[in-house]
């Protein structure tokens, strides 16, 4: 494409800068507020940088509020559902690609369809099911819910990856005396590492970021995950915004770090997931 002239280039950059400010400003403001002492939060006009930097808001969250607990809950639930979902998805996808399953293509379309279900609809039966099973306020309830939500897409992604690995490779391993399972673990899985990373990341982020499921399936504050714990603080009589924003930083930081580190994997997963299903 022809290089844009200086005038056009200036316009382009101007558009980029305006868009970048609108995009990022809320996060800047979150960080800014979280580093202010309580006295500075309720100032008019607000300060664009803290006059006095402090980590007091973070300290209060971790000592006087159960934020360490929320963080732990989020971590347990997210890691649990990632492990469960990746393990089941890998086995299911392997079955789909290596064995003849009647109606497999219809099943695959069904997988994609389930990805589009409104989650608020599914919450009602889940809530009643978990109540009857006595699983309300357990990590297990959330792990099951998130796995079920992430699983269809994960299976579908991995089918694509496993198909790209020639059947002859694992059959060669079987001829050499390995069992089906050994061939799967030793040969197929290592070859599809990028796919597994993408799927794991996808499940982890879905679980970590989820809100409404945890809102419904936990009622005991000691079982809250970060998103619910933070949103709950909004309803308090006097909202301490510096603490709230510190909480938001704690919840958002792992996502941003993971994302910055593994951007390539994730972007390919998102675009593949959207355009091809």
């Amino acid at each position: 494409m022809s290089r844009p002239g200086p005038f056009a280039a200036t316009l382009l950059w101007l558009a980029v800068i305006v868009a970048a400010i609108v995009t990022v400003f809320p996060f800047y403001w979150m960080l800014n507020t979280s580093l202010k002492p309580a006295s500075e939060v309720f100032l008019s006009p607000p300060g664009f940088v803290p006059a006095q930097w402090t980590l007091a808001a973070y300290a209060t969250l971790l000592t006087e509020r159960p934020f360490a607990r929320y963080f732990l809950n989020s971590l347990i639930v997210s890691l649990g559902s990632t492990a469960l979902s990746v393990a089941l998805a890998a086995l299911a996808a392997y079955g789909f690609t290596r064995f003849h399953i009647p109606g497999a293509s219809a099943l695959i379309v069904f997988l994609l369809f389930t990805k589009m279900l409104p989650e608020t609809l599914l919450i009602i039966p889940y809530f009643r099911l978990m109540t009857e099973l006595g699983l309300i306020n357990t990590h297990l309830a959330l792990i099951l819910a998130y796995s079920s939500f992430a699983l269809p897409f994960s299976v579908w992604m991995l089918i694509g990856f496993f198909r790209s690995i020639p059947r002859e490779i694992d059959e060669a391993a079987i001829v050499d005396g390995a069992s089906r399972l050994v061939a799967f673990f030793r040969v197929v899985l290592p070859l599809s590492r990028p796919g597994l990373v993408a799927v794991a990341l996808f499940t982890f982020l879905i679980s970590w970021n989820s809100y409404v499921w945890a809102l419904v399936l936990t009622t005991d504050p000691s079982m809250f995950v970060l998103s619910v714990g933070i949103a709950n603080m909004v309803g308090e009589y006097r909202v301490l915004w510096n603490e709230l924003m510190a909480g938001a930083v704690i919840a958002a930081a792992p996502v941003m770090v993971l994302y910055a580190l593994l951007e390539r994997h994730l972007v390919s997963a998102i675009t593949a997931g959207a355009v091809k299903g």
């Binding site: 379309v109 409104p118 609809l121 709230l244 996502v255």
Partner: protein
């Protein structure tokens, strides 16, 4: 099997619930009574209207801004990856967290948005954004736009990179202006992707609850009560699970209609997955 357990069972259970009246742990079969009651309820039609407005405005803005941003980023020679990462953050971070941040930005007395608007002379006095029906709807829609643009941008960016350079070169030789190149080369190449992205986005926005759930819960006076919010409020605030499930089934039918469009367009039924 597990899949069948975790998806089909709850779905069947949801249908079953929509045909019963639920009181605590007892359920009475009531046939289609729940649907009747929902369809007779003004709140449902109101929520349907709010959902339609919310979704159409958000999706239109997502697609226009996402395409625009992708076109601009695609022209840049430097910092493209860094900017792509930067622009994607609102979409990566949890909606509930993003919505919480916006609650603070829009806070009437000490919020920075009011401060900036008053300083710039755009409004005379601070607005109670989420306290008035009109501004509340505008605010939650704006947050949804902020959250959703990056996703469309990412798809469009991927699409732009598949357009063969030769087509642009040929157009340039024919003396086409930038606008003509956009109309006759870029748009036709992106048409398929635009349809896919819009359909997918409609599905995503129409069923999305978190932003409105955190910011307004559907208020004030139902101004932001989209269907998922009505469903949530009916089930978990009013404890009318049967009616909520009926609302959910109708929402499902809407999503299903768009899903069929999406599957048709992408021809996923026929294509090899992941190919």
């Amino acid at each position: 099997m597990f899949l069948a357990g975790v998806i089909v069972l709850p779905l069947a259970h949801a249908f079953w619930t929509s045909l019963h009246r639920i009181r605590g742990l007892t359920a009475t079969f009531v046939g289609l009574r729940n649907y009747e009651r929902v369809l007779e309820d003004e709140a449902f039609w109101h929520a349907l209207g709010v959902s339609l407005r919310f979704t159409s405005i958000s999706v239109a803005a997502h697609v226009l801004l996402g395409l625009g941003l992708a076109l601009v980023l695609n022209e840049l020679r430097v910092a493209r990856t860094a900017l792509r990462i930067l622009f994607l953050t609102p979409w990566m971070v949890a909606s509930a967290i993003g919505a919480t941040i916006w609650l603070w930005l829009l806070e009437p007395q000490f919020g920075v948005v009011n401060h900036l608007l008053v300083t710039a002379g755009l409004v005379e006095r601070p607005l109670a954004w989420l306290g008035e029906p009109g501004t509340a709807f505008a605010a939650v829609t704006a947050v949804e736009v902020w959250r959703g643009v990056p996703f469309i941008m990412l798809l469009m960016l991927a699409g732009l990179q598949t357009i063969p350079q030769e087509q642009y070169e040929a157009a340039a030789i024919d003396g086409a202006t930038a606008v003509q190149r956009f109309r006759h080369v870029t748009l036709p190449n992106l048409r398929y992707l635009l349809v896919v992205a819009s359909t997918l986005d409609i599905i995503n926005v129409v069923r999305h609850y978190d932003i409105i759930g955190v910011m307004t819960g559907g208020g004030p006076a139902g101004a932001t009560e989209v269907l998922p919010a009505l469903l949530y409020n009916t089930a978990f605030r009013a404890n009318r699970f049967g009616e909520a499930a009926a609302i959910g089934v109708m929402l499902l039918l809407m999503v299903l209609a768009f899903s069929i469009v999406y599957l048709r367009v992408t021809r996923i039924g026929r294509a090899e997955p992941g190919s």
